[in-house]
Symmetry: C2
Subunit: 431 residues, 2 copies
């Protein structure tokens, strides 16, 4: 798209060896610049967007953010650098020396020797105003720009860290990761309303389905994980799931992410509950340790009191109580986390968020399952599912955790639409 000037530049330098001759200043992220321990006096280059401008008589202060951290880097420049283009929202490249900051507000600051405005920001049209803290509802109107605010920046960095933490937890505990299919011909226990999938141009195949059978977007990877737990013993998936429900609730989306695990040779719900508790606590501790400032921003400005609630959850064992007991206790107390097993299923309920985990032991006995499928006339369709019980069947069980609800829970975010980059729900599929 850029034309010949880029091609020429690309062809000039060959392979991945560094260019000979003059050494350019090292490029640093804001995060790395802020965390630098010593100053070698070398020139560095920092790129990002201007978050604030303060012009004094002889000195100009800029704060530059590149999304690598919540905190911005302070740039100190001679007032001769001042010009109208150095404004809130503009993108800049600053070269200069990284030095210890005399102020206690930050560790390091950048003494500018060169400031280049890369792209202007049309301030009158920009929906976010300098120094203003906009409510999350307002930001939601601008899914393509809200990630540039402190609040959404922090939430999405936490989302990224939590994703990594969940993958780590399972890997460290010997689970094999499985990409369960998005398009499926099952409807997994008839949960909720389904989205159907068809090629948009029906011209080529007018009289048949693309897949020969009706195809839907997955509502759960459970059945496919059951297949895989019969080979790898412990498996998990972490991907999108879908419900075509006509809901505008602050806890529902048409497209949301689920973490699901399936484990062979489990003997009781207790086995499952230990994994759920381990997942919740380990992932949360990792998030708290890897992005404390981002979590703190949410706890401080969006959900006061959430910090203490979260600490309480992490410090205590989750209690196992029957359904009846749970109802009684919930009526009276502020107990936050409760496993409620009913028959051979378990739900983990959280105040404010509702069901966070759901899990169960599965029917592993061939004849019981066969009878049930026969009664529903599904024996042929689910022969493959029966096969899993015909060839070396094992007791097994699993659970699912709603990932957005998990984020709501640890950050205290009221509306699910604020913890996913591009929310999809009834009447809304922006971008």
């Amino acid at each position: 798209m850029f034309g010949a000037r880029f091609l020429a530049r690309a062809l000039r330098s060959c392979s991945s060896a560094p260019c000979p001759g003059h050494r350019p200043p090292a490029r640093l992220s804001v995060r790395d610049a802020l965390g630098a321990q010593s100053t070698s006096g070398e020139r560095v280059k920092v790129q990002g967007w201007i978050r604030s401008v303060r012009s004094q008589k002889e000195v100009l202060f800029l704060h530059i953010n590149d999304g690598s951290s919540l905190e911005s880097l302070q740039v100190v420049a001679d007032s001769s650098f001042d010009n109208r283009e150095l404004a809130f929202g503009s993108s800049v490249e600053v070269q200069g020396q990284l030095v210890k900051s005399p102020s206690k507000k930050q560790n390091m600051e950048l003494k500018a020797e060169k400031i280049e405005v890369v792209g202007n920001c049309d301030a009158t049209a920009f929906p976010f105003k300098y120094k203003e803290r906009h409510p999350l509802e307002y930001l939601r109107q601008y899914p393509h720009l809200r990630c540039r605010t402190n609040a959404l920046g922090s939430i999405l960095r936490v989302r990224s860290e939590a994703t990594a933490a969940i993958h780590s937890f399972f890997k460290d505990n010997g689970f094999v990761h499985i990409h369960t299919p998005i398009i499926t011909s099952n409807d997994c226990e008839g949960a909720g309303e389904l989205f159907q999938v068809e090629p948009s141009s029906k011209i080529k195949m007018p009289e048949e389905n693309f897949f020969n059978v009706p195809a839907f977007l997955t509502v759960s990877g459970q059945l496919h994980l059951e297949v895989m737990s019969g080979a790898f013993t412990q498996v998990f998936t972490f991907g999108p799931t879908f419900r075509a429900e006509n809901s505008q609730s602050r806890r529902h989306l048409a497209e949301f992410y689920m973490v699901e695990a399936e484990i062979s040779f489990v003997e009781s719900l207790q086995d499952l509950m230990q994994v759920m508790e381990g997942l919740f606590k380990t992932a949360t501790m990792m998030v708290l340790s890897n992005c404390p400032e981002d979590v703190e921003l949410c706890h401080k400005f969006i959900a006061p009191g959430q910090k203490e609630r979260l600490e309480h959850m992490l410090k205590n064992n989750f209690l196992i109580i029957s359904y009846t007991e749970a109802v009684e206790i919930l009526k009276q107390s502020s107990q936050n986390f409760t496993f409620t097993p009913e028959v051979a299923a378990v739900d983990l309920l959280v105040p404010g968020v509702g069901e966070l985990f759901g899990g169960s032991l599965r029917e592993e006995r061939y004849h019981f399952l066969e009878q049930r499928l026969a009664r529903s006339g599904l024996t042929e369709t689910y022969q493959w599912y029966l096969d899993l019980r015909r060839f070396g069947s094992v007791p097994h069980g699993g659970f699912g955790m709603g990932f957005e609800r998990y984020l709501q829970c640890i950050l205290g975010i009221d509306n699910i639409k604020d913890v996913i980059p591009f929310p999809r729900f009834t009447h809304s599929c922006i971008l």
Copy 2:
């Protein structure tokens, strides 16, 4: 589903504290049992499926596999344990002592004190036969059982490791992970045929779209990553993408996984190519180091010669050549990895697999983009995309890597349907 017996057991033990009284034998995965360094004489418990049975006069040998590794654990038992149910494919639980094996074939073996058959295997109906190596085409007919074979077990463990390695690479290099949406109202540069999405029951909303606009399955997360690179500078996504192409090729699927990255402040294709090369080499080295036996199985039995080709790729710098040069060279040589930049785009082509990476610099100049969109009558629809250039625009670029093709490339697997757990393509959506 299991009934009251499980509930009773679950309620008996409270919280996550271990049960008091008699200590049960420690449960070990086959991988951990094989890798044990010392034998404390303690009783252990191993669970899995029987891969082979060898009955001698006084001794019975079983090989047990639980999917945690390619290698099975040898169980040595007194011949009095022998019975018909101990057969290929049955699931068992074995208790006994883990001891150094006298044979050089394995490090450790399990001296059985107790063997329990958990689930029988109906050998006459089981599609895989003892000691037979079935071709991949044959296994493809049994997507619910093929994961229990050595070949698919290894491929899917490598897939899991490669997934983790790709997440690590980006995290270690300061990229923020973004879940780009699966359902979208864009069609991203009109690439290929689209799948359309609609609620399966049209009863509730007969006269309108669920989302108010026509909605499709994503073909690329590029545009959404461009949004995010304007906030976080370096972002990536790793998720499913879709093409409704009527193709039965060994290189195409209707549902496949893409790794996509977008980087702000890139100055040339060279910047992008360095990230691509780093991703390929780092992820591959990590896979080779974490599951060498699984990779070796593929290189040995499925793709002879692939090992050397892969080593050659990892040891050498990827060359950058023009399109014309590339065609000339490909005609004549066995050069494996070649970046071919054309104008401001780059493709990485691999023999046998075809296009593995595709990347480009994007148009960051507002007026150029506006003119182009206006010519296509798309100004209004893509106002948000223009906005990214109106508010602090930066030069940026990105690339996508087909994940299944990557697996085909490192393992030497000919057909893309063998590197994904549940392949979806024209006329086929099994399970």
